[in-house]
Symmetry: C2
Subunit: 145 residues, 2 copies
């Protein structure tokens, strides 16, 4: 396993580089298959996209993790969420906006730093996630291999 290629490792390691390329293609294929299946199933059965589900998932994790009632239940600072998820800042902003318009999360200002936005689950959001989670796990198990 080539730990880390030197910046000029283009020529020397043709076999090792080929292995990474193979892994990369495998990853691309699996990503396409799994995320496509998740997207469709979550949309059909629960009316949310994959990005939306992933956000809800993080929020629930955060809620369960910190039992301290920091602000509301399961608050998550927008900027923290951006770095904890695979979405870009703008994509996250819009996804949260979608979730809010669906009534699944609530955006609130922080009094300490009035630039920051806190996102927290609503009861409806918690409910939808609880319903969608088994579906998510199931599809993952079916399509993973």
């Amino acid at each position: 396993m080539p730990t880390r290629a030197t910046s000029k490792a283009t020529k020397a390691s043709s076999a090792a580089a080929g292995a990474v390329v193979d892994e990369w293609r495998t990853l691309l294929d699996r990503h396409a298959k799994v995320s496509c299946a998740l997207e469709k199933t979550l949309q059909n059965e629960h009316g949310i996209g994959l990005s939306e589900f992933e956000i809800l998932d993080r929020l629930v994790d955060a809620t369960d993790a910190s039992a301290d009632s920091s602000t509301d239940q399961g608050s998550y600072r927008m900027s923290d969420l951006t770095s904890d998820i695979y979405l870009s800042q703008s994509a996250l902003s819009r996804a949260v906006a979608r979730l809010e318009s669906d009534g699944l999360v609530h955006r609130s200002m922080c009094t300490d730093d009035r630039r920051a936005i806190f996102v927290c689950l609503t009861d409806a959001g918690r409910k939808v996630h609880a319903e969608a989670k088994p579906t998510h796990r199931e599809v993952l198990g079916e399509t993973w291999e």
Copy 2:
């Protein structure tokens, strides 16, 4: 390392399911990081996107693999390409259209089955791919881990 889950591993394995979820999140993160880096670098240094490069890559592979001059050099049937790559049929159609307008590939009809379209590399396409391939491998090596 869980080699391969049985096909009906939905309910029974709550711990194993959690492991798959972890792997899935890891895959999502790596996919985002690597594909984003590849996209940017390929675009900046060679003027093509990741999808376009992947298509060129398949075409070159096909050229090298079959030394028989089947039709032209490195022809690839559109429908075959669709199943060999992670792109959907419509995405592939447009990506090839982009490549053609850039002069990197050439679309030609097949006389046997006039529904089918054959894609083959132009000299310019071969050249761009040859230049971009080291970059691709290099970025892959840098961002893989």
